[in-house]
Symmetry: C2
């Protein structure tokens, strides 16, 4: 992506609107847009923010080249003034983002863009595409990692990803979400996601016998030898041959086996039997890797049944977030500046849940000072300050009689400025830092929020001034 | 993609196996691999082949640069001979593919690769990733197009795609599957997929009133004016304001309106009411576009209820194939050459459905000469010839007593050679040709195969010589 200009990866209406704003003389009108989402995939209790590093790369590189302009001119829809405008297009907005790895919740801004409406509108498609994709995969990966309950989870899904970037950035996002590594080589090379992989069934088929295939592999990779044992029959042939190959090729060279992999059949049963056979052969340290259409539900289930699996390889159901493959982030106008004043804007809808939160906003996360746990997020008007030394009254924006006054908290602003008038003012942290930060932040959530079934609804509340502003706008439109 | 080298987008085990084959002296052993799939997504009756053009680009460009080799060397796992091998790596395989746009069925090879095992194995990840993704989206798009029953379907999903290529190639595949166009600008620029788009809700919010927003848009785009009418209230505000804008800005300029778009609420009800209001205002030619979480089932349902929709805009449920986001193509060793002889290989499995079809195979499609309809596909050993002038006995490879002798057929080989010893010998057809070919080929399928619920299982049979070979191998392994 570093070398590709993705400026033209945009919904065409961003271009028609841009030309329209120019023709209407609105090009310098300052607008505020928020990206937020309405529902956590898989009915989970939280999502994980990811993709900010790639969004930054995109925003740094927006520009229309001659070819782009020729292409647009060929549509015979746009005025020449607009073509000139695009030639000298330079992104000049302010942008705020929730840092990657942060748990995020419905209806709070995770990206805010402020600037000339043409620019702030134009980036919509790529803001959404970038953050929606990686947040989807980081969130799904974390569910699977939590189900594995301390065991390692590897991302294995490139071949079933939805396109090349689906594989490449999917592996990055899965690592943020807690996977220990990937099978996708380019994601290691580009981002340092630890890569792993040993053999396919075809390796075993290429030799005269399974034993010969295993022995050849053990000779080639005595250090870190993991053998795939299900090409013919796991318990009758695969495991016995693996044990023999370990004994004949590894031990004499002074190496211990790393593992075996089971890729079909009943993982719970086969892993228990294989474990017993390996232990009896003196290979208690040989790990068992399981793959084959796994997800958080199957992993949880087979662990309850006592499966002896040390590492889970998870493919298609992770890399596509199969059970819910869409992260529904939206990008909505929240305010415009008129004569230097910020005028909030609201979008109504027949569906109450689709009414937007107006104005230029801040997002605050409240943590309990004693437990360190996250209590609630509160949206405020951007200019509000929350004083940690005073009690703060939380109230439910929908059921306003539900109130609770809290003390002994610390607060953190979630939105960090990443662009200032078009200049990047934020350095993306190292990927390992993001992954560790993600783990720590998830630790601040109560177990009730992390449950798979009917998780507790984490509070995303509104300050009194913001609520009043929204109520006023709703009143106006009635 | 033209400019990016995706050689390193590969599962790491392809690399470990390659180094292993070299160390075992197997690098020149010739192997045959088949890509096939086992199940049509959404329990449909057929899938659509797509992605061959991008696969060709990848295969033409495989090469390891200095940086790749440095990266691999840093793993301390590979021998220097292998590093040298990679430096001069040149893809030299023969490749066959089913042309894009062709209806394809489970268990038949859609790609066959023949060549030195290192190379033929190495391309596995990208063969699968490329064909799985585009075939998934083409297949889903075609379901939605069939549900729309002659009305136009637009692909609208870039913002919810799984990564950039998910959007770009997804739009290409959706067009092959029958969509009339896309909102994704770059897919028009790169592939000529017709691009369309008008305005977002934010356009309406940027003006003092909905009417002013509509009038401004109508002034800017008098030719091809489609207005989004659901920002405030479709029937009380949106449609009346649209009618007024059409009257005040278009008619005086000599233009007719193109359409209105409804993006929320009950599409069946709103479209009928909007149609009535537009007709009463004399805009019988103004089309109604509907969007908002549509798929084939919702479209079929609201059409049954008499929805007056002319164009469907379909987003996330198409671009991710939401109801089933994985196309499960696999890549399996089918044969090796030993002393110039082709020795078939089979992969067994505890799951009977996962046993592979061995040998170097051809796929033949039988068409009835009178109706033009497809009767069955038959896999044969590659050297077999089917004589259209002789009766041919079809039999079910699983229930071999189910037999049927057919006459009056013509046959077509489905696999076309696309690479000959590493040289591309196939020119990808124009995208519009592929889309039209797809439409024609789907017309050769009986309606029973095209049904959404419980479609008829199209026959994919085996010739007697191939069946005998497979039965023999199974016998050998018992």
């Amino acid at each position: 992506m570093e070398n590709i200009n993705l400026t033209m990866l945009t919904d065409f209406y961003e271009v028609t609107m841009a030309n329209g704003y120019l023709q209407e003389g609105l090009q310098n009108k300052v607008a505020y847009f928020d990206m937020f989402f309405r529902k956590v995939p898989d009915d989970g209790g939280f999502a994980i923010m990811a993709g900010v590093e790639q969004l930054i790369l995109y925003l740094k590189n927006i520009s229309f080249n001659e070819e782009d302009i020729e292409y647009l001119r060929s549509k015979n829809m746009f005025c020449e003034e607009f073509m000139e405008y695009l030639k000298s297009f330079r992104f000049s907005c302010d942008v705020w983002a929730v840092p990657e790895g942060t748990p995020i919740f419905p209806n709070e801004p995770v990206i805010t863009v402020r600037g000339p409406v043409i620019e702030a509108q134009f980036v919509e498609t790529m803001v959404l595409l970038t953050i929606n994709h990686q947040s989807l995969i980081a969130t799904k990966a974390n569910r699977i990692v939590r189900a594995a309950d301390g065991r390692a989870v590897m991302e294995f899904g490139s071949r079933r990803a939805q396109g090349y970037d689906g594989a490449i950035y999917g592996a990055r996002a899965a690592y943020i979400g807690g996977c220990v590594g990937t099978a996708c080589t380019i994601s290691d090379k580009k981002f340092g996601v630890p890569v792993m992989g040993t053999m396919a069934h075809s390796w075993v088929q290429m030799f005269q016998s399974e034993l010969e295939a295993f022995k050849a592999y053990a000779r080639t990779y005595p250090d870190g030898c993991t053998l795939l044992v299900d090409t013919y029959n796991v318990l009758k042939s695969g495991v016995p041959n693996a044990i023999r190959a370990f004994r004949e090729e590894l031990l004499p060279r002074g190496f211990r086996p790393k593992g075996i992999r089971i890729d079909s059949g009943d993982i719970a049963y086969l892993s228990k039997e294989a474990r017993r056979m390996l232990d009896e052969a003196g290979f208690e340290d040989c790990r068992i890797v399981a793959s084959n259409a796994l997800d958080e539900f199957i992993i949880r289930d087979i662990l309850i049944q006592g499966a002896k699996v040390d590492i889970f390889g998870v493919g298609e159901r992770l890399i596509t977030s199969k059970s819910e493959p869409v992260f529904g982030g939206v990008y909505k106008l929240a305010a415009v500046e008129e004569n230097g004043e910020v005028t909030p804007k609201i979008k109504l809808s027949e569906n109450v849940g689709k009414i937007t939160n107006p104005g230029f906003k801040a997002v605050w996360r409240f943590f309990d000072k004693v437990t360190g746990k996250a209590i609630a997020d509160v949206l405020t008007r951007n200019e509000e300050i929350i004083d940690e030394n005073k009690p703060y009254e939380l109230f439910d924006p929908e059921y306003t009689w539900k109130r609770k006054t809290i003390t002994g908290f610390r607060v953190q602003r979630l939105l960090m400025q990443i662009f200032d008038k078009g200049c990047c003012v934020y350095e993306s942290p190292d990927l390992n830092y993001i992954r560790e930060y993600c783990r720590e932040q998830i630790d601040t959530l109560w177990d009730e929020v992390k449950r798979f079934e009917n998780p507790h609804n984490y509070y995303v509340d509104m300050s009194k001034p913001l609520w009043d502003m929204k109520a006023g706008l709703l009143q106006e439109y009635k």
